[in-house]
Symmetry: C2
Subunit: 227 residues, 2 copies
């Protein structure tokens, strides 16, 4: 896409049981088309990883064999609360982050970065239902879909991973490369409803969803973060 050869870029995604499949797939789809990118999915072992959508994905590497990331990406999902208590997972994140050029998260993956000590004193974001918990890992919550603080990039809930990945691609290889990938995946969104964020969704929808799902989920996350 450019006159010079694209630099080799190793992108390591953390995989864990209960991962939100779209948290991981949206940035993977965009980044897989970045010239020179090599994508890795690393988990504690090579067993299939059950996602939250009823499917299973195979890791490409276990933690021991995964190459050093240039871009470390930690997705979220309801499995985060369990992963927070897994020392091997947190050690892997800390070790990879120490050598990575970019340390990133999608959705509640931010709390795994936080548990690894990577958000202390940093500005960050996460899924809207969990932003109030960011101070528990030392982060200052910012109300934004993508938050950059140096080479730390956190993004909001689930679908924000696409906006984050295209933004990062533009930073790394220029806007023309990112625009071409946006066009290749026809990312010209037309959501059927205004909304997708509590600020733009009817209050009854937000309150109902919190009561059914997120009040309890955030309480579980809070308990896991305080454990």
């Amino acid at each position: 896409m450019t006159d010079t050869a694209a630099p080799a870029t190793t992108v390591v995604f953390l995989l864990f049981p209960g991962i939100t499949q779209l948290d991981f797939t949206a940035p993977a789809q965009a980044l897989s088309r970045m010239p020179g990118a090599r994508l890795v999915g690393a988990a504690a072992n090579r067993d299939p990883i059950a996602t939250d959508s009823g499917f299973a994905i195979l890791p490409t590497h276990d933690f021991a064999s995964a190459p050093q990331a240039d871009i470390l990406c930690v997705p979220g999902g309801h499995g985060v609360t369990e992963a927070l208590g897994n020392a091997e997972t947190i050690d892997f994140i800390a070790r990879q982050a120490a050598g990575a050029q970019w340390v990133t998260s999608v959705c509640t993956g931010a709390f795994l970065l936080g548990r690894a000590g990577l958000l202390r004193g940093k500005r960050a974001t996460t899924h809207w239902a969990y932003t109030h918990l960011l101070p528990l890992v030392g982060a200052a919550p910012v109300k934004a879909r993508i938050v950059e603080d140096g080479h730390l990039v956190t993004s909001g809930g689930v679908t924000s991973g696409l906006d984050f990945a295209l933004t990062l691609i533009a930073r790394l290889q220029g806007e023309a490369v990112a625009q071409a990938i946006q066009l290749a995946i026809e990312y010209d969104p037309a959501p059927p409803f205004a909304g997708g964020h509590p600020d733009r969704t009817p209050g009854t929808i937000t309150e109902g969803l919190k009561a059914r799902v997120y009040d309890a989920a955030a309480a579980r996350m809070e308990a896991a973060l305080k454990a």
Copy 2:
């Protein structure tokens, strides 16, 4: 989400080697949160399916054991050209479609529906780089992100699957359910660039991408459709 129990809805995704991971994951993520939904990923056999993003997904069923779909969803990807020549795959699509309430596609999955005879005389869409080939399967191309023709719903490239799924969920279970799912996955898109469709992308970007990727890919698709 409603006062009455949600109806059981079986959603069958066709899986095949070279599938675009986001074509399948975006609607799966939304539909997996629809009350009563059961998601199935069906392939010729239970071997891992290599996606176009460097990962592999495990089918939940082979063609013989897959349950009858209420919603059949056929994703696209560069693997479509090969799948067009696979009689077992096309037979599966035709058989499932005959009993399904909704027959749907994302991206170039439309051509698999077409090969199964399901687009004859129908209005349809697909990825922008392939719309001119729809008449080869008897369809009338419509320039839209989502096209409904009776119980046939085709959608545009890759990321359109999210808009399609939320639209279908609203149809099946009401707008409040769809809005809650849109909020749960924080689908409040903020693409870094205007664009994502040739009508809204600088011509040099579109022409460059066609020259590098899609002129050849569309020619391969045309050859496969004429074979």
